[in-house]
Amino acid sequence: MNNRSYIVISLSSTDSVLWSQVSQSSAQSRGRNLANTQGLLSYSVTPSFISDGSVVPVGDIMNQTEALELLQTSAWSEPMPEE
């Protein structure tokens, strides 16, 4: 398990995210839930947009294991189509 922190944010907060301060490259490439309402971000150093309250995480800050468990839920992962 790495030492990064993981947060869920509302997609409506995306404009306030400074991508240079998080592990994700862009709004398009980050993980998002199937309802397309929330996104997952990770970071090693708390980003300024979190510290100053510009973006308020949805729920608690997670570790990697907790984030992986979230991604396995039906709200975030759809079954692979099988022929």
Binding site: N2, S23, G31, E82
Partner: protein, 511 residues
């Protein structure tokens, strides 16, 4: 070494030096900078041992007491070290059943020239060779018995491992550690010459148990240098040169993956094979995690390879099949090869075929080269790989079992440009080696004709990590990314690129 890229720079030696063993070194500030390598056990309880290195300094006053190389013993104190004694001598500690200090005769080292040092313990004598000459003055008391290195040691380059620390000020190059006493002829070989450069420790027999070239292959990860020990260990314990000392670390929870675009030459094949070195982390969740290769245009026109459990590989085509394998565990490297001959599938783990009879599949789908991705399923934002990956390659043929054995290479990835099936190699990404970071990782496709370079998503510069087969790799501390110097013994005026990436090498040159 010839021209090569290691994050973040091209290292372009002066042409007259291109065939020399070392053209770069590392510069230590004498304050905080040093390199630490953990989990080294190569000298534990050996009846003899040696090390060889090069150093260069002009600082003979404040360098007194400063350490160039330190290998502690099991009690944590000085085990096998070399340090600056005073302005005209060096000193070495050796811990066996006794504690020996050996001091050199008067030497001249602070003259801004490179000097070679070899320290040799043969079971009864503890000697220091300076530029191949035995300069041992006093050795008190006479040592005997095995080297009291612990089974797991931390090597420190540029300072003591003990609380003294005492960081060295100057340049260091070519640190090699041997679990036997070097002969005088071997020391002469390591010393080399101005025409050929320094000797290659990996050419000696036996090979060293650790070799840190320093400078030539070090990769910067945004905060520290990764300093590889290129004396990699094969699965039978033999030492081999690691061709590809790095890997990339994928975090599934951060949606990490590599997009290689459309590999058109992979489409409409009657047979094809894949090879990937995997090192998984996290919990394997059956169908919904740990996919490491995929490509296609739709769920009925695709392929994928996925770790389905710790002893199962799932292979997707127009449908899917699960092959039971030997058990794999977290934190270990495994070579997974799939061979799809058009009607059946074989899966190999570390060169050994896992299925007892051919697994029936249908012919490869027509568009498996589309949307080719490493570390994720191409059609969904799901099923990410969690852990390390290295040296992924795809082939437009059904590799034979001997060719798979060649790929495994006793547990150390090799140069696939020399593989017997090279003409069938479609794409090969070392992942980490020959990769550069600038917002995202660019991962070079080593097969120029196809040129399907990969681009990472959601990965950071510190995702470059130590590669397959290597152990006791070094990590710098206190360095900022400009400590690799284009200056080495018998090799000067070697250049380093600025603000260039791995794709800036082109084949179009003046005729």
């Amino acid at each position: 070494m010839s021209t090569q890229f290691t994050n973040r720079q091209w290292r372009l030696p002066n042409n007259e030096n291109k065939d020399k063993q070392s053209n770069y070194s590392m510069d230590f500030d004498g304050n905080v900078q040093h390199i630490k390598a953990s989990n080294f056990s190569g000298l534990a309880d050996k009846s003899s041992g040696s090390f060889s290195l090069w150093f260069k300094t002009t600082n003979t006053t404040s360098n007194a007491g400063k350490c160039i190389l330190s290998i502690p013993y099991s009690g944590g104190g000085n085990g096998f070290d070399i340090y600056i004694n005073n302005s005209t001598s060096l000193k070495s500690y050796l811990k066996t059943s006794t504690f020996t200090t050996t001091t050199t005769n008067t030497i001249t080292y602070g003259d801004s020239n490179w000097h070679h040092v070899a320290v040799v313990y043969d079971g009864s004598t503890h000697k220091i060779y300076f530029d191949t000459v035995d300069v041992t003055n006093t050795s008190t008391p006479s040592p005997s018995g095995a080297i009291a290195a612990s089974t797991v040691n931390t090597i420190e380059i540029g300072r003591f491992s003990t609380s003294y620390q005492n960081e060295f000020n100057g340049q260091i190059d070519g640190v090699a550690i041997f679990n036997y006493a070097l002969s005088t002829s071997q020391i002469t070989t390591l010393y080399g010459s101005s025409s050929t450069g320094i000797g290659n420790p990996m050419s000696l027999s036996p090979k060293p148990v650790a070799y840190y070239p320093l400078g030539d292959q070090d990769a910067f990860n945004g905060a520290n240098y990764l300093v590889p020990n290129i004396a990699a260990e094969e699965d039978d314990g033999d030492i081999a040169t690691s061709y590809s000392p790095y890997a990339l670390d994928f975090d599934a929870a951060s949606s990490n993956y590599i997009d290689c675009g459309n590999i058109t030459s992979l489409n409409n094949l009657s047979a094809f094979s894949t090879s990937t070195w995997i090192n998984y982390e996290g919990t394997i969740s059956g169908a919904s995690s740990h996919m490491f290769l995929s490509g296609g245009s739709a769920s009925n026109n695709r392929f994928y390879v996925q770790l389905y459990s710790s002893n199962q590989i799932r292979y997707g085509y127009n449908g899917n099949t699960i092959v039971t394998t030997s058990s794999m565990s977290v934190g270990n490297w495994y070579n997974i090869v799939t061979v799809h001959n058009g009607t059946s599938l074989d899966v190999y783990l570390n060169g050994v075929k896992q299925n007892t009879s051919p697994v029936t599949v249908v012919a490869p789908s027509t568009n498996i080269g589309n949307n080719f991705q490493i570390g994720k399923y191409f059609a969904l934002s799901s099923y990410y790989w969690d852990g390390k990956l290295s040296n992924a390659s795809i082939w437009n043929t059904d590799l034979t079992s001997s060719q798979v054995t060649e790929l495994y290479n006793e547990g150390v990835p090799s140069n696939l440009n020399n593989h017997s099936a090279y003409s069938n190699l479609v794409s090969w990404w070392q992942l980490g080696s020959n990769s550069s970071f600038n917002t995202n990782w660019t991962v070079l496709d080593e097969v120029t004709a196809s040129g399907n370079n990969g681009t990472s998503s959601n990965m950071t510069e510190d995702d470059i990590v130590d590669g397959v087969g290597s152990y006791a790799n070094g990590l710098s501390s206190g360095m900022g990314g400009d400590e690799v110097i284009g200056d080495a013994p018998y090799s000067t005026a070697n250049s380093l690129s600025v603000n260039m990436d791995v794709l800036d090498r082109v084949t179009d040159t003046p005729s």
